[in-house]
Amino acid sequence: MSDAGVLRVLWTAVAILVVLIGLTLFYLVERKVLRTRHRLQVAEATRRFADPDSPLVEYLGSGERSRRLEMSGEGLRREALEEALLSRLALSASQTERERIYAFAADYFAEEYEYLLGRRRWGDRMNVLLHIEKFRMTGMKDRLIERLGLLENGPNSDDERFLLVRTLASLQAQETSDYFDIAAERFSDLQLMQVLVALQGERLEELVRRFDSLPIRVRRCLLDTLRLGNVRTVEVLELLERSMRSEDRETRIRALKALANFGYMTPEAADVLEERFSQGEAVIWPERMMQARLAGAVRQERFAPHLENLMADPAYEVRREAAASLSNYRNGLERIAKVAEEHPDRFARDMAVETLERRAYERNVV
């Protein structure tokens, strides 16, 4: 190529680059301006809603919708209203106020959300799902199920699938359980639990009833969810005690942990626990640790010797748990003091001393 040809190519490249840089700048500034405007609107919306005389405050107090209320969002963009309402939700504690905000949001946003759910942009769809969840927009249920049906099967849509199912669960939709199979296959444990934790009342009772028909991963996560949600019914107790005898080790561990949190077990289950204790190190240490925790929670005299044994366990975590459990017992601290002096195992003595120090400190502070 001649020098002149090369030069021409190069100058074209320069021109293209300059144009690209210029466009980038233009786009950047446009976005910044829009964002600034948006921030002002949010501030404006928050200000309007905070005003004691505002129609929203009036509505939240009385539950009566005035014409003024319908107009209160006028001139504001959806995002500004959303943000102001969300911050209101985060602040206001009373159930009625929340319900009123949900009702207001359902009226105001439903139409636009339906449209946004079908948008091509992934970020838009995700954002709208998060908002539907926050505003508990039960009316959107059918649209969500429809979206789930349209999703591709590939892993690329798993993020969206998860959020759709979690939203369904938070709306207490009965259809949520239709997606447990795919959820058990695709979702992580923590994602499964986020779905399960959202289900409450009647939905939860139903899950407990049909526990055995659920996929194994869902079962394990459900046990954790019951513990975190502090669900205390006869059915749950029965389920936990049954799961404590499960073939699946993971299920047993989680059931023991949940039972410890429950703080009560039937005499039959206590027999099972005692039988397990006698198996010693044939049981892996996380399970031994949970057994120790459960024994500390139910405080039955017959477990005390086992706990003393566990204070000499090879695993630090088990020793610590056993000591903490034993100190809950009547005369627990004296027993631990005895371990500190007389136990043949050095680790058990060390753990006893450590526990005594901690308890002494707690007595002084509390």
């Binding site: 190069l10 320069v14 840089i21 980038t24 910044k32 975190l228």
Partner: protein, 500 residues
């Protein structure tokens, strides 16, 4: 006679010219590719709402974390750092402060401030095979049961981290520099990939972006995005652009293809079992964070595992950037020496198909573009100047070509400013955007040549075998110079122009 010499010189010059052209074309290609990969992922996630985190944070459904904080002569900062860590926005965690044989009052201050008593039974129990310096004592706070202090003999930062790994309880640990300022939601952001891992998919490590705190207001150890401001100092703004580019372009692209070679030492989450399997941190290196990440990759490949090392674009921690040229120079030459060491220690992976993409793409990329780039760039300048004397250069073409390459570099930098705006919009004032943009444009004309020179100096220092320990890392570079923002630095080695 002189005619023959002239011919030889001309011939050599021609070969240089061709080699350099190929080099420039290849590295420009790689940058374009990384930018495209980053653009795809950021475009998809642009303007994603922050409430995705608040929903999860309200529940207790987060994996427990062990936070390891190595400390050496930190009597001034340590209490503040631990206080702010204790109040993090996260449900389940323990803090393990490892005192690396400090000569000051780090230990007594900790003991007194947090009511700590000695724990005897807490023997190291994670089974790291590596020899560590002996532990003097382990303490636990009576007031905060999840705060542990390990007092050990001096052995360097890597050794302190290894001891921390041995003592901590949870399956994932966080390595943290003593003086890192955290984003209020840092932990949940970094842990999200672990929470979302599909069944059977394993996450070995995750790391997030590091931002520059200069000019912002830090509130009791935290910096939330609302209080981020752009500094007034040109040198700092330049580094902001540099960090944005390194993190938002380089790392997103590399992480997408599981080729990420560096999880920053300033803030990274690692799966303990994997780190234990590869033998923990290597002592006596400068870039122990990169070295560990490379070794993890090696292990993943050897086990033929599908495990991943993931990068989260969100800014999770903030660091104070050097504001003076002297300290900046020290930082950059040190980073370059660290890069050299890590690559040398794993040279068998380079161009080794057994290590897959990491061996065939990322390692060579780091070797040729990152490590040798500055040298090639200087060679380029030399070729041009010598070409001028050999009368083989068309001055006009050279200048225009130089302009093209400079503009290309600037375009890459401005794109990274745009990426920031898509995803995080931390710099809210329009004036900040303008300043970022124009500094990004100007980079090729002053900042880049300085960096090129310093990095070359670092390369030669590394070749000469200069070594460094703890002391320099914490005390001399007080401005947080022991952070590594990323080794992907330059947008593009400036071209060595030549004419054929």
């Amino acid at each position: 006679m002189s005619g023959m010499w002239f011919d030889i010189l001309t011939g050599v010059h021609r070969v240089f010219g061709v080699l350099i052209t190929i080099y420039v074309a290849l590295s420009a290609g790689i940058y374009l590719f990384l930018t495209a990969a980053a653009a795809r992922s950021l475009w998809r996630e642009r303007d994603l709402s922050e409430i995705q985190y608040s929903t999860v944070l309200e529940t207790e459904l987060v994996p427990p974390l062990s936070i390891i904080v190595p400390a050496y002569n930190e009597e001034i900062n340590i209490v503040g750092s631990v206080r702010s860590l204790l109040s993090i926005n996260y449900k389940q965690f323990e803090i393990v402060v490892v005192n690396d044989g400090s000569k000051d009052r780090t230990v007594p201050i900790m003991l007194e401030e947090f009511n700590m008593t000695e724990v005897k039974g807490r023997v190291p129990f994670s089974g790291l095979k590596k020899e560590t310096k002996p532990i003097r004592a382990v303490y636990r706070s009576l007031r905060h049961p999840n705060l542990v202090l390990v007092d050990k003999e001096n052995g360097g930062k890597a050794d302190a981290l290894n001891v921390g790994i041995n003592v901590c309880r949870y399956p994932y640990f966080v390595s943290l520099d003593g003086d890192t300022v955290l984003d209020a939601d840092a932990f949940i952001k970094v842990v999200k990939p672990i929470m979302d891992a599909r069944p059977g998919e394993e996450i070995v490590a995750t790391g997030g972006s590091v931002g520059i705190a200069n000019g912002s207001e830090v509130d009791s150890g935290y910096l939330s995005s609302a209080s981020v401001r752009l500094s007034n100092k040109p040198l700092v703004v330049m580094q902001v652009v540099e960090y944005l580019r390194a993190f938002l372009m380089g790392r997103i692209g590399l992480s997408r293809y599981n080729m990420l070679l560096l999880v920053s030492g300033a803030f990274g989450v690692f799966k303990k079992s994997w780190v234990v399997e590869v033998g923990g941190y290597e002592t006596g290196t400068i870039g122990e964070d990169m070295e560990l990440t490379v070794r993890l990759h090696e292990h993943i490949r050897r086990k033929n595992s599908k495990a991943r090392i993931v990068y989260v674009p969100e800014p999770v921690c903030w660091t104070e950037a050097p504001e003076s040229l002297t300290i900046l120079k020290r930082q950059r030459t040190r980073w370059h020496r660290g890069l050299y060491e890590s690559l040398r220690a794993h040279k068998k992976m380079i161009f080794n198909p057994r290590y897959g993409r990491v061996g065939m793409i990322s390692m060579p990329f780091f070797l040729f573009v990152e490590l040798l780039g500055p040298l090639v760039e200087l060679f380029g300048y030399f070729t041009v100047v010598s070409g001028f004397f050999l009368d083989r250069i068309n001055v006009e073409i050279s200048l225009v070509l130089a302009l093209v390459m400079l503009l290309f570099g600037s375009l890459m930098s401005t794109m990274s400013v745009l990426f920031e705006e898509w995803r995080f919009h931390n710099y809210n004032r329009i004036s900040d955007t303008f300043r970022l943009f124009f500094y990004a444009l100007s980079e090729s004309f002053w900042y880049r040549p300085i960096m090129t020179w310093w990095r070359t100096v670092g390369l030669f220092e590394a070749l000469r075998g200069k070594k460094h320990g703890w002391g320099e890392m914490t005390r001399v570079n007080v401005l947080g110079a022991n952070k590594k923002p990323g080794t992907i630095q330059g947008a593009q080695p400036v071209p060595p122009e030549k004419k054929e």
